[in-house]
Amino acid sequence: MCKLNREEDLLSDLMNQYGQSVWSFIYSITKDATITDDLSQEVFIQAYRHLHDFRGDASYKTWLFSIAKNKCRDHFRSAFVRRVTFSGNVPEDHGDSVEEQVMRTMQQNAVWDSLLQLKPAYREVVFLHVREEMTFGEVGKVMGIPETTARAKYHRAVRQLREILGKEMETNGIWGNA
């Protein structure tokens, strides 16, 4: 590989550090892995284009998630069928045993499945606050809503999640004696 310049180094670091988070965030909104692949790449391409615009008054993380949020918004707002731009996607082997994969999938399905049953705004606020450990101020910045609204949405979302997960637990018992 040719030597990367500073911007590409930074982009590479950002992808390493936030790639999975950005991908998961977009997936939580779109619920579609192919679209998510596409949009998450666009997020980093756009970030690269505007690295010099980054003013540092927010963290890279907040900035990237804001771009991701806008990308999703544009996607849903557009009235066209997005063409698949990346044809090389193949599932990668996680290297886990089959048992581990199944256990992990069950576990993530329970939480993720519950999350995906929520309204989009609830999904976003839970993801950003719980997984990304953002403050409500940061969540509000990403979502373009007041901090107080983000906080209120979170509490409503968690209330709903409890109900949904409670039913999951009763049915599957995957959380054991939690």
Partner: protein, 411 residues
């Protein structure tokens, strides 16, 4: 296991393959041909934008803008960064390198004058809007990225583009990248309220399009209007020649009785007819057709959503000698009788929205199934208190914010 931990553990997993190394490599390959843009910020007159708010409205005659300049006067004329369009400033969207169906120097980025095919190549498949919202013979197409174009005889004759608040500062760069490269600025840019207007001339457009398409202006002339509504977004309108008047402002008392208001609700743009409502408290406001406004009692009006009266807003225009500090304290007191008040930070919560960012007070409280948000702010120099009540599960009260931002008050 505690619920929060459970949630965190579950969400920490990536549902699927996630952002793979292959994708990273693809991104690095893609950006190898892109140079990150070094933005030379235009000396945008933020001062005149401060305290000014605009609501983009589609009037019967097309898109118009109501501007408010109730706090500060317009700033000095705008000084653009350069007088020629720079093709390198292609903005967030990827430039197009396809050959054009016309003079190659008109534009490499699908700007004014190009064909639908080139635009679609650049911005994705367009949707024809039927009927066209401006009721003209031209054909309107909607593209992704908030772009709408009007075509006549297969050529673009008008472009509208909306930018989200987070991208509004790219508006100039983006539009520069879309316009013919041989453009030069004509005269001094104008500004009025939250609108900036630049006039350009492009020799290639002059040779490319019929003279009649430029109206009474010189052939090749086109106008770019940058409109900055109060929500921090940007709206850009590019028109050939001197069609339609400027400035598109309305003095108090001259506002049309009916209009259409565009607003954003839960990430989606809505467009709704609205009627001008004159309050006995000495202000006027556009009321969306989905809402009803009425005088509740002396000194207090109420607006509610027709579909659900649990969504309501009380508007109190306080006396001209009202003390702002007392009003804020009273609002806090009122909230505390409802529930534990949560005090907001308007400038932080609405950093890009000068209307609400400058509010004196923002607070909320929840009681049972009702959520109450209270604002205290100056509108046209007069003190107002807005109290919005909604069910706790409500996602958005943006209709009320939209209506608030159309208020014009007499001193």
């Amino acid at each position: 296991m505690e619920f929060g931990e459970m949630l965190k553990q579950g969400l920490s997993e990536t549902p699927g393959r996630g952002f793979t190394n292959r994708m990273k490599e693809q991104v690095l390959r893609d950006v190898a041909n892109i140079r990150p843009r070094r933005v030379h910020r235009r000396s945008r007159p933020l001062t005149f934008l401060t305290g000014a708010a605009a609501v983009v409205m589609a009037t019967a005659a097309g898109w118009g803008v109501y501007t408010r300049t109730h706090v500060q006067s317009p700033a000095a004329p705008i000084t653009p960064v350069s007088h020629s369009m720079n093709p390198a400033n292609s903005g967030p969207l990827a430039p197009v390198t396809e050959p054009l169906n016309g003079p190659a120097h008109v534009s490499s980025t699908a700007g004014l004058g190009d064909t639908l095919a080139v635009l679609q190549k650049a911005y994705g498949t367009a949707t024809q809007v039927t009927p066209s919202t401006d009721n003209t013979a031209s054909v309107e197409y909607a593209f992704p990225h908030g772009i709408a174009v009007w075509m006549s005889e297969g050529r673009v004759v008008e472009i509208h583009r909306a930018f989200q608040p987070s991208q509004s500062h790219y508006a100039h760069q983006d539009m520069d990248g879309m316009m013919p490269h041989d453009s030069t600025i004509q005269g001094t840019p104008m500004n009025a309220g939250t609108t900036q207007v630049f006039t350009y001339q492009s020799p290639s457009l002059a040779s490319f399009m019929p003279k009649s398409w430029f109206g009474g202006a010189n052939p090749g002339e086109y106008r770019v209007e940058y409109i900055y509504p109060s929500d921090g977004s940007a709206y850009v309108k590019v028109t050939l020649g001197n069609i339609s008047g400027f400035p598109l402002t309305f003095a108090p008392g001259q506002r049309p009785e009916q209009t259409t208001i565009a607003y954003e609700s839960e990430g989606m743009y809505e467009s709704e007819p609205a009627k001008l409502w004159q309050s006995s408290q000495g202000y006027s406001m556009y009321v969306l057709s989905s809402s009803t406004a009425s005088a509740e009692e002396p000194g207090s009006d109420t607006v509610f959503l027709n579909a659900n009266h649990d969504f309501s807003m009380r508007i109190q225009a306080l006396p001209s000698n009202a003390d702002a500090t007392k009003a804020v304290n009273q609002a806090k007191q009122q909230l505390s009788t409802i529930g534990q008040p949560v005090i907001g930070n308007p400038s932080k919560d609405f950093p890009m929205n000068d209307w609400f960012a400058n509010a004196l007070f923002e607070g909320s409280a929840t009681h049972g199934k009702s959520h109450v948000i209270t604002w205290v702010m100056h509108v046209d120099g007069r003190l107002f208190q807005f109290t919005i009540t909604s069910p706790t599960e409500a996602e958005s009260v943006s209709q009320f914010y939209t209506m608030i931002s159309t208020i014009q008050a007499a001193h």
